[in-house]
């Protein structure tokens, strides 16, 4: 145990005492500007601290390549879980929870398109290939007016642009998957392409065996981006993405899910101070599962489709930077289409959402800066499919099916962030945001799955709405070698939906009949300390947080601890550039065990023993902690670079709890057995990358 505690302390010491070494990256400023983002460099540290927006994390994609990962699969969604205020759902899940929110309250945007359930292999790995990513920004619920749709957070990801001058390729072979990236000019200096793809090959091993050859198990994702500089003032880019998972147990059980999206973006620059960005976006998330065994034939299909027009202009005048725009989305959502043997049922709805926003980033004077905005959003549930009036038990009292608009919700969402630069090294920030969400995921479990049922706001289901305030102190040393932050937040959320008692996802096709609404609140403190320069870089983040829910019928209608409440969360990340060839990194992560509900008594029904639960989430699972290590050996040749990556996941083989199950055992003296299942012990990995 002493050794386990010493390791993180050694890393802290190394972080503090290391020397200075700057890092830079080659980027095309014009092309990257299309996403109003730049690849993070040492300069960006100052930008991170000085940004007027509070509660935002800029994720450095280049850092991702150095960090240890499960089976060597670089994973941006796992990496962001090392930042303050962000926690994993559990060890196996790529789902993350931000400031007491659920993972379904996070909006993930890839080039402006919404991605749902962004995980391969039921969430074990993220659907995003790091080779294709340029930038990532995570807004922890406090948003500028131009963003909306996620009450807990918005993660903005951008696909990388291809090189305008030279052709490059890269190939990586790991234990689980292989990936390739090709980029280069279409017309030198004017247009470029990038294609990145990844595919797992576990199914190829299955095919080689007699016993498992009829099973299917694979995932793939592919990113494509084309850029065209139409003129000195116009840039057109097209990006496509598809991620897909397919698992089949012979002809008996099948599960498929994935996201497809396409974005066309046109950036027009009127002048140095005025530009306009227009996006046409289509996205489609679908899931399809089924079982066909003897006389059991169940299938369930669902999808969420967005078609969006997004237009935004940015105008800089003196001390003001105005950002204004509009967005209009046509939504189609199928909460479920199922076959239960002979029975075929479907619930499919459509909606129209619109948003108008205006945000002003105003430099009041040398010390004060204000970002203030208003977002007007409307959501209209559209007819053409049945809507219902329900009684208190969830039974249908009346079915209505008119044409046109069923119901419209309109809200004004104020967004404010204020920055006070006390000195160039010390900054105070405060912020307030109201955010709304109209796509609701209903999960029967504490972790999100691709087969959760979704529904939209309707005449019965109200928009989920969150109000958050935050206050923070941000500091940076001269030269930017170190920076730190302390942020506190308080959040209220309304209209959070969950299953009624006795209902599961297949109880009724009309999903509103299954739901009950509640509310939640979350508050906490986040600390982060970064070391940005020198051969050793990294950060330490700590979060102290509370998260509570209130739902009629649960815990007597009183506030109770939410299942995602974790009191303490500590991450220590260190990366050490040992030599031009070798770099090593280590991550130690600790968090309080998950809140769980344990029995307080047992009773018998029809000869079977069941448990009685007195306190919802009144207990704690054992704490989670583990150390991950990685080492990269880079050999640069005249034309090619070879990288060997070695990793050890869970280096001291900690058995972290994945589930805790209570089993009645009348033979044992304790009468009840609490059984903990752990997923991953120590897992070594190796991968090889060739870059040209």
């Amino acid at each position: 145990m002493t050794k386990r505690l010493l390791l993180p302390l050694v890393f802290l010491h190394m972080l503090w005492n290391a020397d200075v070494c700057a890092q830079t990256e080659d980027t095309d400023p014009v092309l990257t500007d299309s996403l109003q983002e730049v690849t993070i460099t040492s300069h960006s540290v100052q930008k991170r601290v000085e940004d007027v927006q509070i509660g935002v994390e800029k994720i450095e994609v280049s850092t991702l390549a150095k960090m240890p990962s499960l089976l060597g699969e670089k994973d941006i969604l796992k990496s962001i879980q090392l930042l303050p205020g962000i926690k994993s759902e559990n060890e196996a899940s790529g789902g993350y929870q931000v400031r007491g929110g659920k993972s379904s309250q996070n909006l993930i945007l890839l080039d402006g398109a919404t991605i749902y359930n962004a995980g391969h292999l039921m969430g074990l790995f993220s659907t995003f290939n790091d080779d294709a990513l340029m930038s990532a920004s995570l807004y922890k619920g406090l948003l500028p007016a131009q963003l909306g749709g996620g009450t807990a957070s918005v993660l903005e990801l951008g696909t990388r642009s291809g090189n305008l001058s030279n052709y490059h390729y890269g190939l990586t072979v790991g234990l689980l998957s292989a990936k390739a990236v090709v980029e280069g000019p279409i017309q030198k200096g004017r247009s470029s392409f990038l294609v990145a793809g990844r595919r797992s090959y576990l199914d190829l091993f299955l095919k080689a065996t007699k016993k498992y050859r009829d099973n299917t198990l694979y995932f793939y994702d592919i990113n494509t981006r084309l850029n065209f500089r139409l003129s000195d003032r116009d840039l057109l880019s097209l990006s496509l993405f598809r991620g897909h998972d397919n698992t089949k147990l012979e002809d008996v059980l099948g599960m498929e899910w994935g996201n497809t999206k396409a974005t066309a973006s046109w950036l027009h620059t009127f002048s140095d101070r005025h530009d306009a960005n227009t996006h046409l976006i289509y996205s489609d998330f679908n899931s399809d599962t089924g079982i066909d065994m003897l006389n059991t034939y169940y299938t369930l299909r669902g999808y969420i489709r967005h078609a969006t027009l997004h237009h935004q202009q940015t105008l800089s005048t003196g001390h003001h930077q105005l950002c204004y725009g509009l967005e209009s989305t046509y939504l189609r959502l199928m909460s479920g289409e199922w076959n239960i043997n002979l029975l075929h049922q479907r619930e499919r709805r459509q909606a129209w959402t619109n948003a108008l926003w205006l945000n002003d980033n105003w430099q009041l004077n040398k010390h004060w800066q204000l970002s203030a905005g208003l977002r007007l959003r409307t959501f209209s549930a559209l007819g053409g499919s049945p809507y219902y009036l329900l009684n208190g038990r969830g039974d249908i009292v009346e079915t209505i099916n008119p044409r046109g608009i069923i119901k419209t919700y309109a809200d004004l969402e104020p967004r404010v962030s204020l920055k006070w630069t006390i000195t160039p090294q010390h900054i105070l920030k405060a912020g307030y945001s109201r955010t709304s969400q109209d796509i609701h995921a209903i999960s029967g479990m504490s972790m999100s799955l691709p087969f959760d049922r979704y529904t939209m706001t309707s005449n019965i289901v109200k928009p989920e709405q969150a109000d958050q305030v935050s206050l923070g102190w941000f500091g940076i040393t001269k030269g930017g070698a170190y920076d730190w932050s302390i942020e506190g937040y308080y959040k209220n959320i309304r209209n959070v939906y969950d299953y009624r008692d006795g209902k599961t996802f297949y109880s009724e096709i009309e999903i509103e009949r299954l739901l009950l609404g509640g509310k939640g609140r979350a508050y906490g403190l986040e600390f982060c300390f970064h070391k940005n320069k020198g051969p050793i870089t990294g950060w330490v983040s700590y979060t102290l947080a509370w998260s509570e829910n209130k739902v009629e019928g649960i815990s007597g209608g009183r506030w109770y601890t939410a299942s995602n409440d974790r009191r303490h969360d500590l991450a220590i990340v260190g990366m050490w550039q040992l030599s031009p060839s070798w770099d090593i990194s280590a991550v130690w992560h600790y968090n309080t065990g998950q809140a769980l509900t344990a029995p307080s008594a047992k009773y018998d029904i029809d000869g079977i023993t069941f448990y009685y639960y007195n306190e919802r989430n009144g207990y704690r699972a054992p704490a989670n902690h583990r150390l991950d290590l990685s080492a990269n050996y880079t050999k640069k040749g005249r034309r090619t670079t070879r990288i060997w990556s070695f990793g050890i996941y869970n280096a001291y083989n900690r058995k972290n709890p994945f589930t805790i199950r209570f089993k009645n055992d009348d033979k044992s003296p304790t009468g009840t057995i609490a059984e903990q299942t752990s997923l991953f012990g120590i897992i070594p990995s190796v991968s090889f990358t060739l870059k040209h």
Binding site: A208, L342, S678
Partner: protein, 293 residues
């Protein structure tokens, strides 16, 4: 190739694990549990109390309650039978009638109502082999008549086995071999069926103690009980099952703050069959819902 697969399987098998952990439970005072059944076979009421999480002794029904069943123009006090240690009467329910159960026990009043649906006669039962991923599974298949195909009906089934296997000599089985609930959505008009996956041939051959309750042994007597229940009891049983893993207590159709349920239901039972491996039919002989519609 196979070595690579073996390596991956080895990694997974080395890493995932289960272990028993210590747990400090916050106990609560005993809560009254009522199980009330009015059926076409008679009336049977059980009143127990919840016990400590660490208590391994199953409770018998407690005497001292005033139990009354009202319905179909009659009202009957159900007496406590010290032999069966339950409240029992020959009072039988009638299909379509609504019954009320009232229980007065230790100065508390509990009551609930339930409407008795029509019976679903069992047509056939048989054991079948079914192969998946190279492993043979034993499946018990039941067909029954759906008495009201145009309405949504709810059923509670229970599969029991009486065994004389030496494994259970000192440990008589009280719980059913399998049980669950279902409704008639998607079944061929007028028919109901259930496939109960019992065990794999490999598990039966390995015969490990952890699996004894799951294994059917040569000579076991198998019975199947099918109860037509109303929606409130179906929702109680559904929430009872799903809530166990989710940490939620079931919805109950009884008032007064007790646990349990009251059902007025029609019961049908299968003939007893003796489990013999030689009688298990091949998969090719099973009757598919696709062919009978």
């Amino acid at each position: 190739m196979q070595k690579c697969l073996l390596f991956f399987v080895l990694i997974c098998s080395l890493t995932a694990c289960k272990k028993e952990i210590d747990f400090d439970y916050n106990e609560v005072a005993p809560i009254v549990v009522i199980e009330g059944q009015v059926t076409n076979e008679g009336t049977d009421i059980s009143i127990t109390k919840s016990r400590s999480v660490a208590d391994s002794v199953t409770r018998y029904s407690l005497p001292g309650a005033v139990v009354t069943v009202t319905g179909c123009g009659a009202s009957e006090v159900i007496p406590y039978d010290p032999h069966t240690q339950r409240y029992h009467s020959a009072f039988k329910g009638t299909v379509g009638e609504t019954y009320r159960l009232t229980v007065d026990f230790e100065d508390q009043h509990y009551e609930g109502t339930s409407t008795m649906p029509a019976a679903a006669p069992i047509l056939s039962t048989e054991f079948l082999w079914f192969e998946v991923m190279g492993e043979r599974m034993v499946v018990y298949e039941v067909w029954a008549t759906d008495p009201l195909p145009t309405e949504r009906n709810y059923y509670w089934w229970r599969m029991d086995r009486i065994t004389h296997h030496p494994h259970f000599q000192d440990k008589p089985l009280t719980e059913p071999y399998r049980w669950s609930v279902f409704d008639n959505r998607g079944t061929p008009p007028g028919l109901l069926y259930r496939d109960v996956t019992c065990m794999s041939e490999r598990v039966a051959e390995e015969d490990e103690e952890d699996n004894w309750k799951r294994i059917l042994y040569e000579g076991d007597s198998i019975t199947f009980r099918l109860m037509s229940i109303d929606r409130s009891v179906y929702e109680f049983l559904t929430s009872l099952r799903s809530g166990q893993s989710g940490g939620a207590n079931p919805y109950t159709n009884l008032t007064g703050g007790c646990l349990g349920y009251f059902t007025a239901s029609s019961v049908t039972r299968s003939d007893t069959i003796v489990f013999r491996y030689s009688d298990i039919k091949p998969e090719s002989t099973f009757t598919s819902w696709r062919t009978v519609q």
